[in-house]
Symmetry: D2
Subunit: 290 residues, 4 copies
């Protein structure tokens, strides 16, 4: 007997740019919005009857219409707004997931209408809503950081396949993917998402710079802990840290020493350290991470 398991459907990567004009000083929000809905979807899978389906094209239209009607503030607010709308307005939709990426722009000189894309990390969020409760995860991706020193790696297991020499000084570099769960998603405190984001980002950077590292796991834990320490509303942090290996080049064949000066930045393979740091009393995550 074959049955339908978990499922969802939606419109992925709706690219919306919202311009706000205050006289000559313009502001832009540049987002990539992905919506996913679940609900009474047995029939559409079994017979193709679409009566319960809010078309993905309609979801896209809603993103654009809401950008016009409500403006776009913090992406967490916009995600919640959309998620609540889909579930509350459609009897057949019982759960919505809205994921948003935001690309940062900076002003191009003093011109109020001209912008340069900053290229720094992408801010992200995922909001879930089930008709009663909401969950919000915030985060960032692609924050590339590097320490030229204060990193060691030694004392690990030596088995028959181990050849790596221990080191008391190495480059430590990674591209931070970090997401953090808010204990109480309350769209009423809208003004706080941006502040919370800045604090979390700052905590990640400060912990990366400030940790004398004996392993990337130690750095990961320090980064997660710092976010929890600096952001009271956050109850859980998840980090995925690729170890962007920088290998010291052996220059001895050329009669040259290399005391931490010339490195080869390798692509693959790479170490990948994934971990979670959370408060002991963090509420149940529910669907937050899905």
């Amino acid at each position: 007997m074959v049955i339908l398991g978990p499922n969802r459907y939606g419109k992925a990567e709706t690219r919306v740019v919202r311009v706000t004009r205050h006289g000559d000083a313009h502001h832009i929000k540049d987002l990539n919005v992905s919506t996913s809905l679940s609900g009474d979807m047995e029939e559409v899978h079994l017979s193709g009857d679409n009566a319960a389906v809010l078309a993905t094209d309609t979801q896209k239209n809603t993103v654009y219409a809401f950008a016009r009607k409500h403006g776009i503030g913090a992406i967490e607010d916009f995600a919640l707004l959309l998620a609540r709308h889909f579930v509350d307005s459609q009897p057949t939709i019982h759960h919505a997931r809205v994921a948003i990426e935001e690309y940062a722009w900076e002003r191009n000189a003093e011109a109020g209408h001209s912008f340069v894309r900053s290229g720094r990390e992408t801010r992200i969020c995922v909001a879930h809503y089930d008709g009663t409760r909401a969950w919000v995860v915030s985060g960032l991706t692609g924050l590339v950081v590097l320490n030229t020193t204060n990193s060691e790696f030694w004392g690990y297991i030596k088995d028959e396949y181990t050849t790596l020499p221990e080191t008391r000084d190495r480059i430590l570099a990674t591209a931070v993917d970090a997401t953090w769960r808010h204990a109480v998603p309350d769209p009423g405190e809208a003004a706080d998402w941006d502040k919370s984001y800045d604090a979390a980002r700052q905590a990640l950077l400060a912990a990366f710079a400030g940790t004398y590292s004996l392993s990337l796991q130690q750095t990961l834990y320090a980064m997660g802990s710092r976010v929890l320490a600096d952001c009271p509303g956050v109850c859980e942090v998840r980090l995925s840290l690729p170890n962007r290996h920088h290998f010291l080049v052996d220059l001895s064949p050329f009669g040259l020493d290399n005391d931490g000066e010339v490195y080869f930045a390798a692509d693959r393979p790479y170490g990948l350290i994934e971990g979670t740091v959370l408060r002991e009393d963090a509420p149940d995550a529910g669907p937050a991470w899905s």
Copy 2:
């Protein structure tokens, strides 16, 4: 009180090519192997003490050494072999996850030593082992398919944001990402992984071609069901199907009709249909999908 939650670490994307030479007829296996280990990792996170850590560099070495010692048959077997080794040989490692991608090559003419990369979909697998039990998921990614007809879409909800016209004939195209869980991963029946893969791939293609589709969800369910029908060892199928929209171009401004002849292949946004089809009596998935 802050605590360490779920974590794992390993070496991602070890690229190994294994050549086997039977006289003039050579064979190649071209893999991308990612290993992840978990276990007694409190200390490395809290203090940077690496005594429990099998270095990711060692994991990489093991992949290469095992490719030499054991050869590479079906990727599921190679993944299980590695996963068992890490857990069984290291007291501090309690769980291993090994994910493998395989790139297909075809013979270049009759030359026994010359090959052309096929470019078709990538075969994948993920094996878990916890010291006692094993779980195996197989799959493929990037199988791009298109039907020029036998696809309709109508009867969906019309709300105030709906503008999409109903259609009784459209192109249906997707890039299939499919993974399927085996009920009983038994490395003893090694010869079966390849047969099972071919049957599942064939089932996906046949169901896509053979389903008269009223929605991509219906097609998804038909594809999943067909895999279950044709592969007795499989108990659950997960599918992620981006709807690669092909929009009929409006040529009426140029005095031309367009009765299903000229389409614009769009990039973003795209519909994304995700779903699971499983046997009612499928055993618990455990960590299989993580």
Copy 3:
């Protein structure tokens, strides 16, 4: 005194899919078309006066309208058709360049309406037309090939920075980017473009497999020569061959030999061999390669 130098403008990457239905047997052509025009463009650069400009949006529309009106046969014919149209219909446009990529699809089983993208190399062409003469270059990109033996590399310069050991047996692998210029582009012989493409592709594969290689340059020259030998209409071949290094893994620390069995497929850096092979009496290339 500042002046305007060479310039062109156009619509890049118009994605067009053309379906032809012969009863139940459908056919598809899947193209990515980029058009570039040049002509009386001083004013648009200096003052922004667009009187001489055929909008890039119009160029896109033309691609779609022509796909409907004329169908799509060989991409070289479609490129020439478009190039001639832009120059011949617009007094201000004196030169057109049309570049096309074609993605190959195969039938999905016996179903006349169902297709699988083959994933093999992309066929490409570039056509130029200046109101009088036309030039056509055909080619392919992303044809990945590998020989497990019959490749050596030794006898090269040894300077103070040379550490590479000589080898009498190595893997030779590359991703072929090849383009070839036709001596006489005659749209009248439309039927021949496909035959010529198949012959050139086959020549590249056969020469790669059949050349016992002492250097990738030697293989490159053999591939180019073979295309010229097998395709009488071709007068010049350009090849760009990245050397996709496969390094033999040193397994001696693990007490294992490695006699050509286990390789590491490296990403960067990579050798890059670029070269041209042509007939001594090849006509002047004009703008063909630009």
Copy 4:
């Protein structure tokens, strides 16, 4: 009669990171170096005799050794240093091309050893040397800019395939790829490359922001002219500007106006404007752009 035409070979994408430590204040240079050599290469192509070949592996080693011996200042200097070395030290090498990309990093807070990759545009250069003369092109890629207003597009040709409505106000956005040729590459004025780069970058940004645009061509010409005006050593500028279309979304079906507030950021197709701005008395470019 088949002959060998233009050719070159080298090592592409050697990734080198150079650390300089002044007490606690560290500095890093993060480069991607590609070298290409030409010379007496008939034999290697015809017979595979490598006697004239400086192995690409040796070229890579040289990059690392030079980074140690000479340090890395402006990338133009490092490129010239390498190019001169290859030609001057090897009798069989008559021409060298060295292309470098540089990734920018910023300090992570006050920590002297911690850095964040800035993510902004990539600085590039290409140096050529033929044993007597040198040529240097500098540039940048991936500088993404957007104006929310001060852009119109009207007055273009209307032919039978034109449907685009004229507009008196639109978003203008592009990802600037710009390269500029120096009239006199003199490695003696090393200190000037960085100043010249900053001036050119600033000129591009200022001209983009400051030009009231009637077409992207006009903006392109203004950008190129401004670089020439602000950088006396530069004699020619080449720009490639994809028109990153932002389409105003039609919200009228939802009873909403949209007076320049909500835009859809499109991917493909896109306009592509390419052009050259140069001094009338610019010296011959020779191989500079190849």
